[in-house]
């Protein structure tokens, strides 16, 4: 028995529902607004970086050392090479330890002691970079009696290790147990299995982790302030103060000279381009080389 009053009651919108609907629309609008507010600085930063940076990058910038104040020209070639040098030192020190610790956690660390190391790595990950700079200063600089590229490398290595350790562990745990068992079944010793089967299968993931850590420390300035210290000239000795791109950007940015500001923007653009190319180059190589299918 169809009751006309009932159906109409279902179709009319009571006033409270209207208010709820308006709230719904308003909140959707608010969410969209937050997205715009968050993305605006991102685009503003990249736009300014390209706008100010592209005009300032030239051959001299990439090939010369800094000129004294007042002289036009000069560049950050020594800082670019210095950064690469410090990062190479950091990688040599940090990558083996990080990967090794990751292997330990994944293959032998399913116990209380493993949990301790896992927790330690997480804690290390949260230590402010400036504090790591202090420790590198205390350990290396005070022992050597002067600032050095090595001290900067040690500081950055300490920052790389926890990230590499945790991603390596995660990637190794993703390798199916059956692969390890197959290797054991063939009589292959455990260490050989870990290196040639497990680690190899997880290579691309492990390298991604390493690149993540690398990208994170490549732009770090704070831990280099009183370790690598900076240098106006070329230096490729591990025991001498060395220029680094982020340091140079910082020093030029807070200076009062327009010419130096211009170079700071150029340096920032170069820094970002270098980080992005380094990361994508390695990823590309890993994908093509070892794992066509990965």
């Amino acid at each position: 028995m169809p009751d006309p009053t009932q159906t109409s009651a279902l179709h009319t919108v009571p006033p409270i529902a209207l208010r709820r609907r308006i709230t719904d629309h308003v909140m959707t609008g608010v969410a969209v607004l937050t997205v715009i507010l968050v993305l605006a600085p991102l685009f503003a930063i990249f736009a300014y970086l390209v706008y100010r940076g592209v005009g300032s990058i030239n051959w001299a910038f990439l090939t010369q050392t800094p000129k004294p104040v007042g002289e036009a020209g000069g560049g950050m070639a020594n800082a670019i090479v210095g950064s690469a040098f410090i990062l190479a030192l950091a990688s040599i020190l940090g990558v083996p330890v990080g990967v090794g610790a990751g292997i330990y956690l994944a293959e032998y660390g399913r116990n209380r002691f493993g949990d301790v190391i896992r927790f330690t790595a997480d804690v290390l990950n949260g230590v402010p970079s400036i504090v790591i700079g202090i420790v590198a200063y205390a350990i290396v600089v005070l022992t050597q009696k002067h600032f050095s590229a090595l001290a900067g490398g040690v500081a950055l290595a300490i920052m790389m290790i926890p990230t590499i350790t945790r991603t390596t562990e995660e990637m190794l745990l993703l390798v199916p147990q059956a692969l390890r068992e197959a290797a054991y079944g063939l009589g292959i010793p455990r260490w050989r299995t870990t290196l040639s089967i497990t680690l190899r299968t997880a290579t691309s993931g492990v390298i991604t982790g390493i690149m993540l850590a690398f990208a994170r420390v490549a732009g770090e300035t704070a831990p280099l302030l009183f370790t690598a210290f900076g240098n106006q000239f070329w230096n490729l000795r591990a025991d001498q103060p060395t220029a680094a791109l982020p340091l140079q950007i910082f020093n030029y940015a807070i200076s009062p000279y327009d010419e130096w500001h211009r170079q700071a923007w150029a340096g920032a653009l170069v820094l970002i381009i270098l980080i992005v190319t380094a990361v994508s180059a390695v990823r590309f190589a890993v994908r093509r080389g070892t794992f066509g299918a990965a």
Partner: protein, 336 residues
């Protein structure tokens, strides 16, 4: 008729000893030595991680000794920072760190939650990937580049438009008064907010995605609008995890150095107005550490570093605990 089963069971339990006896034959002695060497080498790498943390703690504690003996607890209550007379009080730095970080949270939290809610609950599927990619791109920009941008773009905008506006409308509160130089606590808070948004929003997104789908369906089935569904079905259930993300963001903000140093003004004063310059624990280290002369000066700075280290550890541990209870454990679901 359950006759044959017990016999089989005993057979199986007899197997492992036989297997163990066969092992040396299968592996050979060379594998054994190699295994032992390899395990020790990997263990050393693991111990290196542990040793690094121990080293950090011990260096900080030992080297902050002179300052600790000279000032004790008063170090963090003192207002004077006078390297010439070797009298040090860290209060202005503690204040600056706290205020700039809280200001950053105040700005970043609503924005990050909004972005996370939009990406998980509202936007079309095709937009999800690119959106989270762009937000995470913010995390890849080096701190010093943020600082550079802040000096040349953010600070002029603040001093020309935002600060005069705030002074006119909210000046009576006392938080927004004084000359609008741009270089200020406010600038530091804003740049920190931009830097911690990716952290808070990516963790919030993860936590929202763990909320069971049936919570959403139940809310919708009760006649909730989409926003009501998000509020009651999603955000309520994700509270603990979101809190964890916020605290993780706080941890990052507390230790952030370069961008803050470049815009906060670096003056050890405690001012009520957010337009006034300030100083943070991290930036005093950045500015003065390499020039510190004298044991007490250096150890006072290291003591600030130690305090910063301890605070970030506590904050990070708390955050991880909260995120874990949501993404792994049951307690939060039991509450819901």
């Amino acid at each position: 008729m359950p006759a044959p089963q017990p016999v089989e069971a005993t057979k199986v339990s007899n197997l492992p000893p036989a297997g163990r006896r066969a092992e040396p034959f299968l592996r050979g002695s060379r594998g054994e030595t190699g295994d032992r060497v390899f395990k020790v080498a990997m263990l050393l790498c693991g111990l290196a991680v542990l040793a690094t943390l121990v080293l950090i703690v011990s260096e900080l504690v030992l080297r902050s000794g002179p300052s600790w003996h000279a000032f004790g607890f008063k170090f963090f209550a003192g207002h004077d920072w006078d390297p010439v007379n070797e009298h040090f009080g860290a209060m202005p730095f503690v204040y600056g760190t706290l205020v700039s970080s809280l200001l950053a949270l105040l700005i970043a939290v609503p924005l990050s939650i909004g972005v996370a809610v939009f990406t998980t609950e509202m936007c079309p599927k095709a937009l999800r990937g690119p959106l989270s990619f762009f937000v995470e791109l913010l995390a890849a920009i080096p701190s010093v580049v943020y600082g550079l941008w802040a000096i040349f773009i953010l600070v002029p905008i603040l001093s020309n438009y935002v600060e005069p506006f705030l002074a006119r409308t909210l000046g009576w509160t006392g938080f927004f008064e004084g000359p609008p130089y741009g270089i200020s606590m406010l600038a530091a808070g804003i740049i920190l907010a931009i830097m911690i948004i990716p952290i808070i929003s990516s963790i919030t997104r993860e936590v929202l995605m763990v909320v069971p789908q049936h919570q959403r369906e139940a809310a919708l089935a009760l006649g909730a609008t989409r926003w009501e569904m998000i509020r009651v079905g999603v955000l309520r259930n994700a509270r603990a995890g979101i809190m964890g993300g916020i605290i993780l963001g706080l941890g990052r903000a507390l230790g952030e150095t370069m961008a803050v140093t470049m815009v906060i003004g670096n003056r050890p004063e405690i001012a009520k107005s957010l337009f006034a310059p300030g100083y943070t624990m991290a930036s005093v280290l950045a500015n003065e550490f390499s020039e510190a002369t004298g044991d007490v000066y250096l150890s006072a700075l290291i003591e600030i570093g130690l305090a910063l280290f301890l605070v970030t550890i506590v904050v990070n541990a708390l955050a991880r605990l909260l995120v874990w209870t949501v993404t792994r454990g049951q307690p939060s679901r039991a509450n819901a």
